[in-house]
């Protein structure tokens, strides 16, 4: 089909007829190299002037067939591939695979190992939200926010570097605990980081939360109702901002999360501002959990006795965790061998992205950037 200007549209694409005043709808490709798509995500946007009519995400630019690769690797080897899905929640992804293997083989985790898991997971959640906060500021035009966010995040990343030797692809948790004990000064370092973080979070509130420009660009933008959020399968901060009271840590506790007191922050309108506020409050809740975990950090072993081989009995096993972006689940089928017969990951980002058309319809392109930013997408987690 050719338009009046002579440009041919690809098959499957069509536009409404040109209006009497000569104005016309048009398509715009946003990405895969757009800075605010946070990776290789391509959005085909149908526009009328500056108003968004439809957004269609195109995926697959960074598909690596991680689930298929998992079928050719042993259960323990598969853990390190999950680092490369949601790379800002890599510890928590690793934990999910470990939980599934532990469920299958009946491996217990010592008290200290559980506390290490909870503390590291919460630190990971904080550092993910800090990076999101910086990127969110930058997407909306405040470049200095990016530096403030990264300054705080760097402290936690440096701690992870001492803990497991890596800053992003951790591969730290193993069935039965973790592959190493925490360094000697771990608790002191965490305490120090949290003290500074509390101060910084107050600074963040002054910098962005109360900033009238940020409020103007996020209040009422990209609203998603509770019902629609449930239908799309949104989870994590995106779902909670729409009012879905669901947090795996609270409602299906894994590890030792049931021992800690914390609240699940909820939003009302499901707009960008609510998603922002939910994440800001989640950081403070994580600090609360960490303070409790530090107070009760036990002595003892960090890992139960290592098995000679991890041969998982036949059957299917499921485990779910709450990553920084929502419900992450691993479903593995074993045929009584060292390698999984089939392994499936449920990633939160894919479901959260599917709501983008509904959120951005009727808004402007600038709102689309704000929506993308508050969805906090990790593209390798969508494509896998």
């Amino acid at each position: 089909m050719a338009t009046e200007q002579g440009y041919a549209l690809p098959p499957g694409f069509s536009l409404r007829e040109t209006r009497a005043d000569g104005s016309q709808e048009y398509f715009l490709n946003m990405g895969p190299q757009h800075p605010s798509t946070h990776g290789v995500l391509k959005l085909v946007v149908r526009l009328d002037g500056e108003t968004v009519i439809e957004v269609v995400p195109h995926l697959g630019f960074i598909h690596r067939a991680i689930e298929k690769m998992g079928e050719n690797e042993t259960f323990v080897q598969y853990i390190h591939l999950t680092d490369r899905m949601d790379y800002l929640s890599s510890h928590i992804n690793n934990l999910c695979v470990c939980l599934a293997i532990e469920k299958a083989m009946g491996i217990g985790v010592p008290e200290r190992g559980e506390y290490i898991r909870v503390m590291v997971s919460e630190l990971q959640r904080i550092q993910s939200h800090l990076l999101w906060w910086g990127a969110f500021g930058m997407d909306l035009g405040a470049v200095s926010a990016f530096l403030y966010g990264f300054k705080e995040r760097e402290k936690i990343t440096a701690l992870f570097e001492e803990l497991c030797g890596a800053r992003l692809t951790m591969n730290f948790f193993r069935p039965g605990g973790s592959n190493a004990d925490v360094p000697e000064n771990f608790l002191a370092r965490v305490k120090e980081i949290l003290e500074e973080l509390k101060f910084s979070l107050d600074e963040f509130e002054v910098l962005l939360t109360k900033n009238p420009i940020i409020r103007e660009r996020t209040l009422g933008v990209g609203a998603l109702s509770r019902e629609r959020a449930i239908n799309y399968g949104c989870s994590g901060p995106v779902g909670r901002a729409s009012g879905i009271d669901f947090d795996v840590r609270k409602h299906d506790p894994y590890s030792v999360y049931d021992r800690f007191q914390f609240d699940v922050p909820l939003g009302k309108n499901g707009d960008c501002y609510d998603r922002y506020m939910v994440r800001m409050q989640e950081m403070r809740e994580s600090i609360r959990i960490l303070a409790q975990a530090m107070a009760g950090f036990p002595e003892g072993q960090y890992r139960s006795k290592e098995k000679a081989s991890y041969k998982v009995p036949a059957g299917s096993y499921y485990a779910n965790v709450e990553t920084a972006r929502g419900l992450y689940a691993t479903y593995m089928v074993s045929d009584n061998s060292f390698k999984p017969y089939r392994i499936k990951s449920r990633s939160p980002n894919f479901s959260n992205l599917s709501a983008i058309n509904e959120m951005s319809r009727g808004g402007k392109i600038a709102d689309l950037v704000a929506i993308l930013s508050t969805l906090d997408l990790i593209i390798p987690d969508i494509d896998r």
């Binding site: 694409f13 536009l15 591939l81 890596a166 591969n171 190493a180 900033n211 009238p212 599917s354 319809r361």
Partner: protein
């Protein structure tokens, strides 16, 4: 959601009602001078954070990376690339048991064995392909003789693939 833009044209969305902006009093929806001044004050408070950092440069954490290369410190557990430590005689402790080869998820390690003068199976070459290594640490964990470690260093860019195929042992045998 369709996988391409829909063939059927979606209906034009209804115009959203104008939302109460920030400079508008939420109670009656009219512009409010008090709110405007409050917003202006908040903008300056945000700027105040920046000025606090200008006044106290000791809180600035910037590090000049390429210049501070010599003084970079790596943590003990830092996972750079696999190295095989040799003692002062040039000997290593690898027995060519191939446990690391089996533990490697990507096939980055190949152990080539040979026979020594007593016709005992010894290490010929420890081939390590850095280009396919994901630095997951599983080979180090698998090694019962502590023969391989993760070394420091992260600048691994090369002009061709050849320098990334490494032979870690300096001599054959044990």
């Amino acid at each position: 959601m369709t996988d391409t833009a829909t063939a059927t044209v979606p209906p034009a969305p209804e115009a959203k009602p104008a939302l109460p902006g920030v400079q508008v009093d939420p109670a009656n929806g009219k512009p409010s001078l008090r709110r405007f001044l409050g917003d202006a004050a908040n903008l300056f408070k945000g700027m105040g954070v920046t000025f606090r950092y200008i006044r106290k440069p000791s809180r600035v954490v910037t590090r000049e990376y390429p210049e501070n290369r010599d003084t970079l410190k790596f943590p003990e557990r830092f996972r750079g690339q696999v190295i095989m430590p040799h003692d002062e005689n040039g000997d290593h402790t690898c027995t060519a048991c191939t446990l690391c080869e089996k533990a490697c998820p990507n096939g980055s390690i190949s152990i080539l064995t040979t026979k020594n003068i007593a016709s005992k199976r010894v290490l010929g070459a420890f081939v390590y392909r850095l280009s396919s290594c994901t630095l997951c640490n599983l080979c180090i964990e698998a090694c019962p003789f502590d023969a391989i470690h993760m070394g420091p260093g992260f600048e691994m860019a090369t002009y061709s693939r050849d320098p990334l195929d490494l032979i870690l042992n300096k001599k054959e045998g044990r």
